[in-house]
Structures are given as C-alpha cells and as structure tokens.
C-alpha cells in the first residue's frame, strides 16, 4: 500500500519535472519581447547616449568620430564653456522657471481646486471633467486655439481692446514667456486636479466626519487633514513638476518657436537631435541627468520624510 503511494508520489514528481520546462518555456516566451525591447530601446539607447558624449564632428567633417584621448571630456568642457553665452544661460533659466510654475504655482492652486471638488462644490463632477479636457486633446489643437484666441481675429482681442490692451504683441518680446507659462498653467491644472481628487477620495470618511462634528473650519481641515493624507499624490505630482524642467519643449516650440527667451533644455535637445553633431544634445542630456537625478531622488526622499504614516 505504502509502496503504491510512494510510486504515485514519484509519478507526480516526475510529471511536475516534465512540466517544468514547459513553464520555463512559457516564462521565456512571455518575457522575451519586452526584455529585448527594453534592452534595446532603454539600455541600448542610454548606453549609446553616453558613448555619444565621447564623440565629436571634426571641423569640416560630416560624421561623428571618437574624441582624442587627451580631449576625452571636451564635450563636457564645452557645456560648461557654453554657460558664458547669454542665450545658453537664458535657456537654463527658462527651464528652471518650470519648476516654479509647476511645483510652486500650478500644484498649490490645483490642490485648492481639488479640495473644493472633493468637497462637492456645485457641479463638481462637471468641473472635474471640463478641467481634465486639455489633458486628452492634441497639443497642436490646444496651441492653435490658444494663439488664435489672442490673434487679430480672435475672440479675446476685442475683450482686451476694451481695456486698451493690444493682444497682437502678446506672443512677441517679453510677454511671449508669460503666454507660454499661462498656457502651461491652463493646460496643466486639470491633470493635477484629477490626480489629487483621486488621492483625496481615499481619505477615510470617519476622519472627515469627526473633524466636521468637532467644528473644524475648512482652512484647518485643508491644512491639517487633507494635505497630510494626500501627501503621496502631492509628492508624485511635485516630482512630475520637477521633471518638467527637462521635459517641457512642445509648448514653447508650438507657441513661439522657442523664441523670445522661451527656449528650454528639452527644446534645445529636440532641435539638435536630428543634426549630425548628436554629441552636443547628448552631452546636454547626460549633464542634466547627472544633475537632475540626485536632486529629484533627494527631493523625493525629503518629501517622503514628511507625513510618513499615511497608510489607510
């Protein structure tokens, strides 16, 4: 009897053993393409990007070649030298403005908006959907409508005209920057509001009810309950906002072609990406990654340090 049982167990073991290669084959097949794609398009691309920073185009040359060993870091040195160029330093400054805009202006205002939507202001659901609308529309359509609204046949032109303001120069000179920033704020607020209301919706009802019964005013509720309990979402959006310093390029490109001091790091890399001298944009990119990564990770760690116990 026991012998038969052992035999049966052995058979099952054998069966499992035979099945193992099938499962292994399944795992390999399922992961083959995603890993291949990742290795090629993330790992390969980024390794190549690093290699590009050690290549250059000789004066009068038409293709990239390795830099001489005695000038190994010439591309990096050139990046530092470029800082003396007012246009380049203005590019870095213009990019840093997006940190202020995204993290210190758009995010707090979005937080306030999200709070009122969460507290079911009249037509809250409708407002949430409308605010989110720019996030799903093609950026070209948004920039077109925005520029045309202020154009000489735009519907805002007579409105501003009543106050004696000429909108025809809005996308020129110093005001161009402001138009790009307003556009970024206008289109960026909806996404933040949606993420934050989703974060607020996870706050336990009991906490809000007890605070309400204790007569906590809205401002205190917002500062002492809503913000701490929505902190993980705020942290995520703050990091996204920080990444905007390097990633914003379509808005200034489509609105003002990166002119009038609106050129950003992202736009500079985009504009140079198709040139033969790919070493320059690649070096700018790597330089920014080296500077940006510790800052982003540091800020992330710092933000996570506040309100640690957000588990509900």
């Amino acid at each position: 009897m026991s012998g038969a049982f052992v035999k049966k167990e052995d058979k099952q073991f054998e069966k499992r053993k035979r099945k193992f290669p099938r499962t292994a084959f399944f795992i390999i097949l399922m992961l083959f393409y995603p890993i291949f794609h990742f290795l090629l398009m993330w790992f390969g691309v980024n390794i190549n990007s690093i290699l590009l920073t050690f290549q250059y185009v000789k004066p009068g040359g038409a293709h990239l070649e390795w830099v001489p060993i005695d000038q190994l870091f010439i591309n990096y040195i050139n990046i530092f030298k470029d800082f003396s160029d007012p246009q380049v330093s203005s590019m870095y400054t213009a990019s840093l403005v997006y940190f202020v805009l995204n993290c210190l202006i758009t995010l707090p205002i979005s937080l306030l908006f999200a709070y009122f939507i969460f507290k079911k202001i009249y037509a809250a659901g409708v407002f949430k959907v409308i605010f989110y609308l720019p996030s799903i529309l093609p950026i070209v359509a948004l920039t077109l409508v925005y520029t045309m609204a202020f154009g000489n046949k735009g519907f805002l032109t007579p409105l501003f005209g009543w106050f004696g303001v000429d909108t025809s120069t809005f996308f020129l000179g110093k005001t161009a920057k402001w138009m790009v920033w307003i556009f970024c704020f206008w289109t960026g607020i909806g996404y933040n509001v949606m993420m934050l209301t989703a974060g607020m919706a996870r706050i336990p009802r009991d906490i809000l009810e007890s605070s309400k019964m204790d007569g906590v005013p809205p401002l205190k509720e917002f500062i002492y309950i809503i913000i701490p309990l929505t902190w993980p979402t705020i942290t995520t959006l703050f990091i996204f906002g920080m990444m905007g310093v390097f990633g914003t390029y379509l808005q200034p490109m489509l609105l003002v072609q990166g002119q009038h001091g609106t050129n950003t790091i992202g736009l500079q890399i985009f504009n140079e990406a198709n040139n033969v001298a790919k070493n320059h944009p690649a070096t700018i990119g790597l330089f920014c990654t080296m500077i940006g990564t510790p800052i982003v990770l540091g800020v992330r760690a710092l933000l996570n340090h506040f309100f640690k116990e957000v588990n509900f």
């Binding site: 499962t23 090629l40 398009m41 990007s49 009122f116 070209v140 990406a273 990119g285």
Partner: protein, 314 residues
C-alpha cells in the same frame, strides 16, 4: 444595443449621478455648510465657472466658426454664423498641399488610426504578458526585472532622443510605420505597473483548478487570465490609444512624410493660415479633435479613474 439607446443610457446614468451628488450635497453631514462657508463656496464656484468657460468656449468658438463662409468670418469673427454651411468640413477632408506631404485630413486620420490602434494592441498585449509572468511566476531575476522597471520610472533621463534617432536609423526603422509601432511596443512602464498590481491581487484559485485539469500555461493565460483582466485591459487600452493618437513627437521625427492627425494639424494650420483660410482651419481642428472628444464623452469615467490610479502612490 443601438447607438441611440446607448447614448440615452449614458445620459440617463449621468443624470442619476448628478441627482445623487445633489442629494449628497444637501443631506450629507460632510457637505453641510455654514453661512460663511457658503460665501467661500460661491466665490470658488465663480472662479471654477470662469476656468470652465476658458476651457469650453474656445472650442465652441472654433466649432461654430467652421460653419461660416469666409466672408461671414471676415465680417464677424465672434458671432454665430449668419448662414450655416458644411462646405468647410467637406473641403477639409480633401484639402492637401505639398506642405502637408500631399496628405488630406482623411488620410491623416487613417494614419492616426493605423498607428494608434496597432501601437496600442501591441503594447498592451506585451505589457500584459510581462506583468502576468512577473506577478504570478517565481523565477530567477523576477525581483531584478521589477526593480529595474521601478528604477527607470523614477530616474529622469534627459536627452536620449539623439541616440534613439541614431539607433532607429541604424536598425533601418526610420521613416517606416513598423518603426513607430516598434517604438510604441515597449512592455515595461506605467501600463506594466497597473497590470502588475492587478495580476498580483488576482485570485489564483481558478488557475490552480485549471492546472489540476491539465491546462497548459498558455491556455490558462488565454482562456482564464485575459478574460478576467478584461476591465483593466480595456481601460489601459483607451488611455494608451488617446496618448498615441495625440503623440506629436514620435510620428513627426520618424514619419515626417506620412503625417498623423496630431502632426498634420500643424502642417494644415500653417498652410491654411498662409492662405488666410481660417474657416477651413476651424473645420479641420474640429474634425481632428472630434474622435477624441467622442471617446472622452463615452469613456470619461474609465479614463479619469484609471489615469489617476497610476500616480496615487509616490
């Protein structure tokens, strides 16, 4: 279900939701407000209304101006059309210039459908395969894969575009539709994380039962897992589809001679603005955003709920 019945059902559901929200606001303790709070809410409502108008009115303005004749628009660019015409919309479908690479809006829409549908199908399927295996199977390197995916999502990589262009050229994928689909087809990223968390929490009971019955891993994935994951797969597909439909950079760089609607709209606007034909441009903008608006109307809840899930935890 017919289209009209579907629309009616959607409207009915929306109305019920609004009624419920209204009831909650009036009777729920959480949303009862004192007099001073009411003033604050009224002030905020006015601000919200102003913002909502800025989001809605420009597109309404574009829509009704598309129905004007050129003369009508030249005389009055704010008011409603004196006589409504569909001519601009018909012309927009056939308008093509060398600047638009000889493509008309219809062909651009076709390119957008081709790229976004193929790209979405491939990327969602690949993400699904990867997420399922990483979530449910124990194998060497599993934690490494997960760690690398999270790491790449946190690190702000700047300026990999020049290298990517070079690589695509070396692979012979530059200027080819298959190249853009290949670029879209990555399996790791936000879709992977969303599906991974879904599969992680998925009950393994059915799979065990199927294994006892002798079903293979492929059969289990195809016949049990995929149908069970239908909800999140559809939601992720919609979000990915919209993202790829709106993608400006990838088709512009890799398919400059075959513009999608996101890229072509810029080319059309440049050509039409040069001709001063604004009414045609308004009609073109309307046609370009119409598919997305319709999709958003039908799936707004799905889109918004699932977009927010990805960023909840920092």
């Amino acid at each position: 279900m017919s289209v009209s019945a579907f629309v009616k059902q959607k409207i009915k559901n929306k109305r019920n939701q609004l009624r419920q929200a209204d009831y909650e606001r009036k009777n729920d303790l959480l949303y009862k407000r004192h007099r001073s709070e009411k003033v604050l809410y009224i002030a905020m409502f006015i601000i919200f209304l102003f913002f909502a108008i800025t989001y809605i009115f420009p597109f309404i303005w574009v829509l009704y101006n598309g129905f004007k004749t050129r003369t009508n628009f030249a005389n009055d660019y704010i008011g409603l059309p004196t006589s409504w015409t569909f001519k601009n919309f018909i012309d927009a479908f056939t308008y093509s210039k060398p600047e638009t690479q000889g493509f008309n809006i219809f062909q651009m829409l076709g390119m957008s459908v081709l790229l976004s549908v193929c790209g979405t199908l491939v990327t969602v399927f690949v993400s699904c395969c990867a997420a399922y295996v990483v979530a449910k199977y124990e194998f060497p390197g599993r934690s490494l894969i997960l760690g690398v995916v999270i790491f790449t999502m946190i690190i702000p990589i700047v300026g990999s575009l020049p290298s990517q262009i070079q690589l695509m050229k070396n692979l012979g994928l530059d200027g080819k539709i298959i190249g853009v689909i290949f670029l879209y087809s990555g399996g790791f990223g936000m879709n992977f994380m969303l599906l991974y968390s879904f599969f992680k929490n998925l009950s393994w009971t059915y799979v065990e039962a199927a294994k006892i019955d002798g079903a293979s891993d492929f059969r289990i994935f195809r016949s049990i897992i995929l149908p069970m994951a239908k909800g999140p797969i559809i939601a992720i597909s919609i979000i990915t589809l919209i993202g790829q439909w709106n993608d400006y950079m990838t088709p512009m760089i890799y398919l400059p001679d075959k513009p999608t609607i996101a890229v072509g709209l810029k080319l059309l606007s440049d050509a039409m603005q040069q001709e001063g034909n604004y009414v045609l441009l308004f009609a073109s903008i309307t046609l370009a955003i119409l598919p997305i608006i319709l999709m958003f109307c039908f799936f707004s809840k799905t889109i918004m709920e699932n977009t927010s899930v990805g960023g909840l935890k920092g």
